[in-house]
C-alpha cells in the first residue's frame, strides 16, 4: 500500500529499460510505438479504478469491464436519442455511474465485505454475468458503432501516418492518474481512504467513517470506468461482451504492478500495450496478441510465488 516508496524503488529502473526499448522500437517500428502507447493508456485508465477498489475496498470486481460496457451503451443511446456528442456525454456518464455505483454498493457489495473471498469472487462473477446477459437480451449481440467523423483523423510525419484521436486515451490516463494521486495524497478524504485501505479497524478507531469511505471509493471507481466506456465507444464497436477481456487485462496489470501501486499500473500497461502491438505488427501471428496478457499474468504469478518462497 505504500505508494510513494514503491514509486521511488521500482519506477527508476523500469524507466531506463523502457526508454531504451522505446528508442529501439521508434527506429524499427514507429507504428508499434505510437499505437502501443495509445493502447497502453487505454488499458491503464481502465485498470486504475479496479486497482482503487481492490486496494481500498479490498474487493476484486469481476464485473469491472462490464460497467465499462454499460457506459459505452449509455453514451450510444444518449447520442441516438438526444444527439449528444460522446465526448460531452462523459459528464452525464460520470454522474449516472456514480449513482449506479452507490446503488450497487448499497444493494449488493456491502453485504459481502466481511464474507470469505470466495463469496466475493462468486458474487461479482454473478454480477458480471447478469450485466452481460441483460445487455445481450436488451440490445442483442450485434456490434454497434457510432459514425463519428473526428475519430479517424490522422497525422503524417515523414512517410508514416498515425491516428491522432487516440491521443485522447493518453490524456485520459494522465488526467485520471494524476487526479487520483492528488485526491489520495492531498485531500483529507483521500488520506482517510488510504488509511482505510491499510487497516479498516485502525481507521475506524481514529474516527474515520469506514462504510462511507468504501461507498465513496466504490462509486467513484464505477463513475470513472463508466466514463471511460464513453471514451472507448467513440473509436471501437461495442457489444455485450466487449468489456470482459478488459476485466482480465486490468487484473493482469494490477497483479504486475502490485496491489495498491497506482503509478506502476501505467508502466505495466505500457509493457502490455507495446507487446500486444508488437505481436500485432507481424502478419500471420496477429491472432496471438490476445494471449499475451495471460502469459504475462502467469509469469508474474510464478515470479511472485518464487520471491515469496525465497523470503
Amino acid at each position: 500500500m505504500n505508494l510513494l516508496s514503491k514509486l521511488k524503488q521500482s519506477s527508476y529502473q523500469i524507466t531506463i529499460i523502457s526508454f531504451v526499448l522505446a528508442i529501439i522500437l521508434a527506429i524499427w517500428k514507429p507504428h508499434v510505438l505510437i499505437e502501443g502507447i495509445q493502447r497502453a493508456c487505454l488499458y491503464a485508465v481502465i485498470a486504475l479504478p479496479m486497482a482503487l477498489i481492490l486496494g481500498i475496498v479490498g474487493i476484486i470486481n469481476l464485473a469491472h469491464g462490464d460497467f465499462m460496457m454499460l457506459g459505452a451503451y449509455f453514451a450510444y443511446f444518449l447520442n441516438v436519442y438526444t444527439g449528444m456528442d460522446p465526448l460531452v456525454a462523459i459528464f452525464p456518464a460520470l454522474l449516472a455511474f456514480f449513482l449506479i455505483g452507490i446503488a450497487s454498493y448499497r444493494a449488493i457489495i456491502k453485504y459481502v465485505l466481511g464474507a470469505p473471498e470466495l463469496n466475493q469472487l462468486l458474487l461479482t462473477f454473478g454480477l458480471a454475468m447478469i450485466m452481460e446477459q441483460l445487455a445481450n437480451l436488451l440490445w442483442t449481440s450485434r456490434p454497434i458503432k457510432l459514425p463519428l467523423s473526428y475519430v479517424s483523423s490522422s497525422a503524417t510525419i515523414g512517410s508514416f501516418t498515425f491516428g491522432t484521436f487516440e491521443f485522447v486515451y493518453i490524456g485520459a490516463a494522465i488526467i485520471v492518474l494524476s487526479g487520483l494521486l492528488l485526491f489520495l495524497k492531498r485531500t483529507s478524504t483521500g488520506q482517510a481512504a488510504l488509511a482505510v485501505g491499510q487497516n479498516p479497524r485502525g481507521a475506524k478507531l481514529v474516527g474515520i467513517h469506514v462504510d462511507r469511505t468504501y461507498l465513496l471509493i466504490f462509486s467513484l471507481s464505477i463513475a470513472l470506468v463508466g466514463a471511460i466506456g464513453v471514451i472507448f465507444m467513440t473509436r471501437h464497436s461495442i457489444f455485450p461482451l466487449v468489456g470482459a477481456p478488459f476485466t482480465m487485462k486490468s487484473f493482469c496489470l494490477i497483479a504486475m504492478a502490485g496491489i495498491g501501486n497506482l503509478v506502476g499500473i501505467l508502466w505495466c500497461s505500457l509493457i502490455l500495450g507495446l507487446a500486444e502491438n508488437f505481436v500485432l505488427s507481424f502478419r500471420g501471428y496477429a491472432g496471438w496478441a490476445d494471449i499475451l496478457f495471460f502469459a504475462l499474468i502467469v509469469l508474474v504469478i510464478m515470479v511472485r510465488s518464487h520471491q515469496r518462497q525465497v523470503k
Binding site: G126, L134, V298
Partner: protein, 308 residues
Amino acid sequence: MRNLRYLLYIAILIILLTLPLYTGVYLLNVMDIILIYIALALSWDMLLRSGQISFGIAGLFGVGGYGAVLLHLNLGISPLFSILMGGVAAGALAWLVGMAVLQLRGMYFAIVTLALAEIFRVIIRNFPDLTGGPEGTVLPSAIFAGNSTKTYWLVLAVAVVSVMASEIFRRTRIHFALTSIRNDEIVARSSGIDVFKYLVFIFVITSAIQGMTGGAYAHIYGFVSPEGSFSVDFTLLPIAMALLGGMHSTWGPVVGGILLGVVSEFLKLQIPYGHLLVYGLIIVITILFFPQGILGTLGQKLKKTGNG
C-alpha cells in the same frame, strides 16, 4: 441404517439405468443434459472444498471435447477411449496451469482460470489446419450412431463416476486435508499437510472429470467449435447449480443440477437469448441470502427444530 442407505443408492441407480425402458427420446435427451451439468457442478464443487475457486470449467470442458474429437479423427482411437483421453488431456493441462499458478491462490488462481476459456479459444482459432479454426470440426457420425439409450448410459456413467469421486473425496483423509486448507492454510501447513501438492492434485482430478464430460458431450453432439465448446454456459450453469443446491457436499450440486436442469429446459424456450441472465441472478441471490444453498439451509432448519 447404513445398509438402508446403500439399498436406497442401489435402487436409485437401478431406476436410472432402466430409465430408457419407460421413457421417450426427448426425456432421455433432457436427462443427458442434466447429468452432464451435474458432473460439471460436482467437479467444480470438489475443488471449491479446498477453498479455491475455478471459473475455468468451460475451458477444460472444451479442451476435453477437442482432445477427444481430434484424437478420434487423427489417430483413429475408438470414441469411448478418446473420451477418457480427453479427460487425460484436460488433466495434463490443469497440471501445467496448477504447477504455475497454484502457489499464489485465491483471486490470482480464480482470474487465471477465468481467462482459460478465452485463451484456449484463441489457441484453437490459430491452428486452423488441426482444429478446423473458427468453424470447428464435425465428426462423421455421433457416438453409437446417435442411439439415445446408449448415449444416455454413457452420460450416466460419467455422472456416476463424478458422484463416486466426490463421495470418495468426502470419506477419506483427503476430505480433512482439503477442509483444513480451506479453513486455515497456516494451521493445515503446520499439521503437516502439503498444501500445494493437495491443491494441484484436486485441480487435476476435477479438471480431468470436466475434460471427460466435455469429451462425452462432443461425441454425443458430433462436433466441436470454439464458440460452442467453450461457451460460458458450461461455466455459469454448473456454478449456479452447485451454489443453489449447497456447496461443499455431494448431494447439493446434484439437487441443484436436477432443479436447474429442468428449469433451464423451460427457460431456453421462453427467453432464448437471455436465459443465462437467470443463472447470474441465482448466483447473486444465493450468495447474498443463503450462501449454504437449499440443502444446507434445510439442514440447518431441521437441526434447529430437532433441538427445539
